[in-house]
């Protein structure tokens, strides 16, 4: 600093005598940063600069001039083997094969379904006629119990005046009521018969 002051003093004092005053750098930049500011490549000074990532970055910035060998930038055999051992990625051919197999299986199942559909469509009229015949046959073969049950259900629906689902709770209540009424009617009929019998006996006596 003192030397710089002397230069400054000299440049001011001897301005009239000397033709050219020497240039004074007062920025106090370190030589490394002065080189960087001038656009040059700084020398390797620190330990961090000797690491691999820093050397790569040096090559990236300054190119071949940096002195970093190009083969150092590529991954080493150990790194490649490690990556393959970890198994982060899988072969694309295998993935493609699996995908194609999946697609083929899907397509085959679709084709099988369509074939079955067409076959069933051919048999549809015969099956429909058979089904309708079975319906008619089933209607004829209905036994008395089913007939009575259907009649009872129909009576209940007529009582309500509109169609009602047999599973409706009101339907259940009405069904029980109808059964009770029928039971009572049977009882009354029996009693009437007994009374009629007694009346006949009275007439004879």
């Amino acid at each position: 600093m003192l030397r710089n002051w002397r230069l400054l003093v000299r440049s001011f004092a001897t301005n009239s005598s000397e033709e050219i005053a020497p240039k004074v750098d007062v920025s106090f930049l370190r030589p490394r940063h002065r080189i960087i500011a001038a656009g040059g490549m700084p020398p390797v000074q620190f330990d961090s600069e000797r690491e691999r990532a820093s050397r790569r970055e040096r090559f990236g910035k300054y190119g071949l001039k940096s002195g970093v060998p190009v083969e150092e930038l590529f991954p080493t055999a150990e790194e490649i083997e490690e990556e393959e051992a970890i198994g982060l990625f899988r072969e694309f051919n295998n993935a493609k094969k699996e995908y194609k197999e999946l697609q083929k299986k899907k397509r085959e199942s679709e084709l099988a379904r369509i074939a079955e559909l067409e076959k069933n469509l051919k048999k549809y009229p015969a099956t429909l006629a058979k089904y309708e015949a079975s319906l008619v046959k089933q209607e004829q073969e209905k036994d008395e119990k089913e007939v009575a049950l259907e009649k009872r259900i129909r009576d209940i629906q007529e009582y309500f005046g509109y169609w009602m689902d047999p599973k409706d709770p009101r339907f259940e209540v009405m069904l029980q009521q109808k059964e009770a009424e029928e039971k009572k009617a049977v009882k009354m009929a029996k009693r009437d018969e007994i009374q009629k019998k007694r009346f006949a006996e009275n007439v004879q006596g």
């Binding site: 050397r55 790569r56 970055e57 040096r58 090559f59 990236g60 910035k61 300054y62 190119g63 071949l64 001039k65 970093v68 190009v70 083969e71 930038l73 590529f74 991954p75 055999a77 490649i80 982060l88 990625f89 899988r90 072969e91 694309f92 051919n93 295998n94 993935a95 493609k96 699996e98 995908y99």
Partner: protein, 298 residues
């Protein structure tokens, strides 16, 4: 003096004389410019810290049912369980509409005569892609599809059929391609990648879940055959009722594992020397030529 004979200055002066003074009330926000949020005061900062404070708070938090600290409304009625269930793992694409694309071309940010890909779009600094947040590229949307004027060669990560049809109607070409995370980082900021001295990565193949999308010619996936894509191109024109313009001068498409146009994967780029270095080592050749499928988030 008659009305027509007066000068413009006198009429303007009369208007100014009759106008009212500008007051502070005249400086108002536009309607709807501000929203009224919850007004929190210092005394309300304690709400929710203790049960007693919750019980006595003037404005308890949403869902609070009085007296029951451990059973808020949100826990009693949680809503749809699977809604946003995959929010931690699903991919995100930045929407890029055709209107925005045409605007960028109009303003000179993008050169329509060169291929457009992630590097081109991110270099404009208009879009920010963060691969660490599972943002995987661009989604080309169909907004502005009716009047897209440019014949472009664009590569996106997702595209709707209408957007594809609009670009092809204008004489352009669309390809959808998958970028894995490393390739995406390289493509987003190529200068940064080259100056770091890193090897240009090999673009991995899509994972299992995305394989179907990129192998479908309807989506113009980059894993399809060119004949299938041409067939789908003609079919799309026929369905949507437009005549295909003559096919564009076929600039070379990228290879399946290529990140940058003109730069092979597995090479090192030196910007200072303006050179591209390709390895001659057999191990590296084999490593960078094998096609690997990405496993991430499949």
């Amino acid at each position: 003096m008659s009305q027509a004979a007066r000068s413009a200055k006198e009429r303007a002066l009369q208007i100014v004389e009759q106008a009212s003074r500008i007051r502070i009330q005249d400086a108002r926000d536009n309607i709807g410019a501000r929203t009224t949020g919850r007004q929190l005061k210092k005394g309300h900062n304690q709400m929710g810290h203790t049960q007693g404070a919750l019980e006595r708070a003037a404005k308890p938090p949403l869902g609070w049912i009085w007296g029951d600290f451990f059973r808020p409304w949100q826990r009693m009625y949680p809503g749809e369980k699977l809604f946003n269930a995959d929010i931690n793992t699903r991919r995100e694409y930045i929407p890029l509409s055709l209107v925005e694309l045409a605007r960028l071309i109009d303003l000179g940010w993008i050169n329509p005569r060169q291929p457009i890909d992630i590097s081109t779009l991110c270099t404009t600094q208009k879009f920010q892609i963060n691969p660490k947040m599972r943002q995987y590229g661009f989604d080309l949307t169909e907004e502005g599809a009716d009047s897209f004027p440019y014949s472009i060669d664009i590569e996106v990560q997702y595209a709707t059929p209408s957007a594809i049809a609009a670009v092809e109607k204008a004489g352009g070409r669309v390809r959808t391609a998958y970028y894995d995370v490393e390739s995406l980082e390289a493509a987003i900021n190529p200068k940064c990648w080259f100056e770091a001295g890193k090897v240009v990565p090999k673009r991995k193949q899509p994972p299992q879940s995305l394989l179907e999308y990129y192998m479908d010619a309807k989506n113009r996936g980059y894993l399809c055959e060119e004949q299938e894509i041409e067939k789908e191109r003609a079919l799309s024109a026929q369905i949507r009722g437009y005549t295909l313009p003559p096919p564009p001068s076929s600039a070379a498409l990228k290879a399946v594992d290529q990140v940058f146009h003109g730069i092979p994967s597995g090479s090192v780029v030196s910007l200072a020397d303006r050179k591209v270095f390709v390895t001659k080592n057999e191990l590296h050749r084999e490593y960078y030529s094998s096609r690997r499928a990405d496993k991430l988030y499949s």
